[in-house]
């Protein structure tokens, strides 16, 4: 009888194992889609400044001919963004699209509307390479603005260099910062982690525990905090976690045990994962077992501050790559909020770092496009992108420059925020990321230190 049923038992085991593998594989796949945006009538210039705003700003101020739809030949721009279960960066190109829609409805760029193509991908190199070719060969885009992808920079960098495209993006992969053809408006995980560790070191902690998700590129990210801690003669423990995190309790206990009572735990995770760890620490009563907790930019959301509650006021310090939207009242910030309200229906996260990045990238692109006097071609558009110099975005500490450099880290000065009764408030104003990070030193060596925004 046993022998008779042995094949069935094996089948049952294989069934379970196969199903488990299929489930795991399913977690890494999804399908993509594209979307386009067309605009209205010619005109334009928009140079949003970071000057204080006392009057309310209308979205129509994004263009130079309010209410006049651009009707000229469209200028095609494109973007590639990761959109997969658990990781979606589509808010960034969607906000850029909202900005372009606003420009198109209010005069366009020298009379030309912007036609914006958004391709999404699921961390599949072949798909990402195909997306780039789709944008160039089928959609005939003249420039790439708003790319935000886990690996797009790694996959497409040489392609953009070969074709002479100078990408304005939100960076994640190392190649977004270390190649001539990519300039990001954000600092990305490495330099944002640098900022968080730098703040902890400035508070004279005795030890740093730096924990991040175990994904490709962790060694590259970890090198920055390691350099900062070494320069400060402070021991650092580097940890990585499998995501999604299912054992947050043990993760939090290990972090706190390793850091010690005068140490700091610095996290580099997406908002959901960081929230899981911080909530676990709170439930276990661990939040006060270390001197402070730190986090890279993704933790900079009011939702996180509200969910964690007052126990984390002045205990958690989050690096903020862009100007805090709640406490800032400048023309650019008001315009950003007005455009988001009127044109940003597809921006699901609302006000926050992601939509700020999309706004900033679109703002820089429009500023560059307006400087073109001749025909709009791949050559003229990318030359204009590359020529952007000391532009006041109103969203960053420093003026933003692309330039002809072998690498680009134009955003290397940032804020630190902390929860305060459900809101993130500024704990430290604009501060340079330390040149102790060799990449920052190398960039400043070729590009210098950008002037602060007025």
């Amino acid at each position: 009888m046993s022998q008779l049923h042995a094949p069935r038992a094996r089948r049952t085991f294989l069934l379970a194992a196969g199903a488990a593998i299929a489930l795991a594989a399913a977690g890494c796949s999804s399908s993509g889609s594209g979307s386009t945006s067309t605009g209205g009538t010619p005109t334009g210039t928009s140079t949003s400044a970071g000057t204080p705003s006392t009057a309310s700003v209308s979205a129509s101020q994004c263009g130079t001919k309010p209410g006049q739809t651009a009707t000229g030949t469209p200028i095609a721009l494109g973007a590639i963004a990761t959109n997969q279960p658990g990781t979606s960066f589509t808010d960034i190109p969607n906000m850029a699209k909202a900005y372009f829609d606003c420009v198109n409805a209010n005069g366009g760029v020298n009379g030309h509307p912007i036609k914006y193509y958004i391709e999404t991908e699921q961390t599949n190199p072949a798909q990402i390479a195909a997306d780039a070719r789709q944008l160039v060969q089928t959609d005939h885009v003249l420039g790439i603005v708003g790319n935000t992808s886990i690996i797009e920079c790694s996959v497409d960098s040489s392609y953009w260099q070969k074709l002479g495209y100078y990408v304005i993006d939100s960076g994640i992969a190392p190649e977004c910062y270390s190649t001539p053809n990519s300039a990001a408006v954000n600092m990305g995980p490495r330099y944002s982690s640098d900022g968080a560790v730098q703040y902890a070191l400035s508070q004279h902690v005795s030890k740093i525990v730096f924990d991040q998700s175990r994904v490709p590129g962790t060694d590259y990210i970890a090198a920055g905090p390691a350099a900062l801690a070494k320069a400060a003669n402070t021991p650092i423990v580097q940890l990585t976690e499998t995501v999604p995190i299912t054992d947050a309790n043990s993760v939090a206990i290990k972090e706190v045990d390793d850091a010690g009572p005068n140490g700091a735990v610095v996290l580099n995770f997406t908002p959901p994962e960081a929230l899981i760890i911080l909530q676990a620490a709170q439930k276990l009563g661990l939040e006060n077992r270390v001197k402070l907790w730190g986090c890279s930019t993704p933790c900079n959301t009011d939702f996180l501050a509200a969910t964690l509650g007052p126990k984390w006021n002045g205990k958690l310090f989050v690096n903020a790559e862009l100007t805090p939207p709640d406490s800032t009242n400048t023309t650019a910030m008001s315009l950003y909020k007005a455009i988001l309200k009127q044109y940003g229906a597809s921006v699901q996260g609302g006000i926050g770092s992601f939509s700020q990045m999309g706004f900033t990238e679109a703002e820089i692109a429009v500023h560059a496009l307006e400087s073109i006097t001749g025909p709009y071609t791949v050559k003229s558009v990318n030359a204009a992108f590359k020529a952007v110099s000391n532009f006041n975005t109103g969203m960053l500490c420093q003026l933003w420059t692309y330039g002809s450099y072998p690498m680009h880290i134009p955003n290397n000065n940032d804020y630190t925020v902390t929860p305060d009764n459900g809101k993130m408030t500024t704990a430290q104003g604009c501060t340079n990321i330390s040149s102790v990070d060799p990449q920052i030193a190398q960039y400043r060596g070729v590009a210098g230190t950008a002037p602060m925004a007025p």
Partner: protein, 298 residues
């Protein structure tokens, strides 16, 4: 090797993690014993219920208890609906086909959740229970009553379900039907009704598990949907048959997993624990056929 004191908090967290695996694992075994279906959508339906509960309580302002009941009701309704529509058609198919069919439901629900509760813009969600606010200290860390309830629910579920399947008429009918639907029907058992009861019970368990896991682990579709994979290890160790062994295996997996955390050389490999233990157990245990055992019990 760290001193013993360093391990103490990980025993507490390990028991909590084991309780999490046990909740899903026991639910999987219950339905498998009753219908012969390995219900891989167990985590996804719980996640769907928990997300609806979150929307009700945070967006619609519904009282907590209403949203919890809705969570359980949604999970029960989806599971029952699936069982009623696809159960009869799949009844005569191979176990692999039945499992893959539930994988289809998993992916559909996962897609729906990703669409309706997007993570775009860095959105994160959290579902707390009132029992999170009361805690006591054990092994240098706080233990919340939610963790105690989860562990207790696993024990209660194990004992009560085991007794139900063994000592009640309906439980006996479920086990008989799982082994041979045709013969059971010829004996006069209303198979459709018994099947419905099994699917409904499993759905209720999925809803309760979803609610507790959303609090204990994370209110995240990916996490809750795929948590079932680690629970499968406990189910495999129990050979999809013994609820008590499933519970014990789940607790053991949770404990071993967390006790590896403070050991620097092994900490990065601790996520392999469920699968390593399952593989070792399957290799060492005598090769007793799963289905034959159930048949004898029936």
């Amino acid at each position: 090797m760290p001193p013993w004191n360093d391990f103490e908090p990980f025993i507490v967290s390990g028991l909590a993690l084991g309780g999490v695996y046990a909740l899903s694992g026991v639910g999987l075994v219950v339905l498998y014993r009753a219908t012969g279906v390995l219900y891989l959508a167990f985590g996804a339906v719980g996640a769907l219920g928990a997300l609806i509960a979150w929307s009700l309580s945070t967006k619609a302002g519904a009282p907590g208890w209403v949203s919890w009941l809705v969570c359980i009701a949604v999970a029960a309704a989806v599971t029952l609906g699936y069982g009623m529509i696809f159960g009869p058609a799949l009844a005569r198919r191979e176990p692999l086909v039945k499992a893959v069919a539930t994988l289809g439901l998993t992916l559909v629900l996962y897609g729906v959740m990703d669409l309706l509760w997007t993570t775009s813009g860095g959105q994160a969600r959290s579902l707390g229970l009132p029992t999170d606010n009361t805690a006591f200290t054990m092994g240098q860390v706080q233990v919340t009553w939610t963790q105690i309830i989860a562990l207790g629910a696993g024990v209660v579920l194990t004992v009560s379900t085991g007794a139900f399947l063994r000592f009640t008429k309906l439980g006996t009918a479920m086990r008989a039907m799982a082994n041979d639907r045709e013969i059971t029907a010829t004996l006069g058992v209303p198979v459709r009704r018994v099947e419905a009861a099994a699917w409904l019970g499993c759905g209720v368990l999925a809803g309760i598990a979803g609610l507790l896991l959303a609090d204990l682990v994370a209110l995240d579709p990916t996490t809750l949907t795929f948590l079932v994979i680690s629970s499968l290890a406990a189910v495999l160790i129990a050979r999809m048959r013994s609820i008590a062994v499933t519970f014990g295996a789940a607790i053991a997996i949770g404990l071993v997993h967390d006790l590896l955390t403070p050991i620097t050389s092994l900490t990065n490999y601790r996520d392999m624990t469920p699968f390593v233990l399952a593989a070792v157990a399957l290799l060492l245990m005598p090769r007793r056929p799963v289905m034959a055992s159930s048949r004898e019990e029936a």
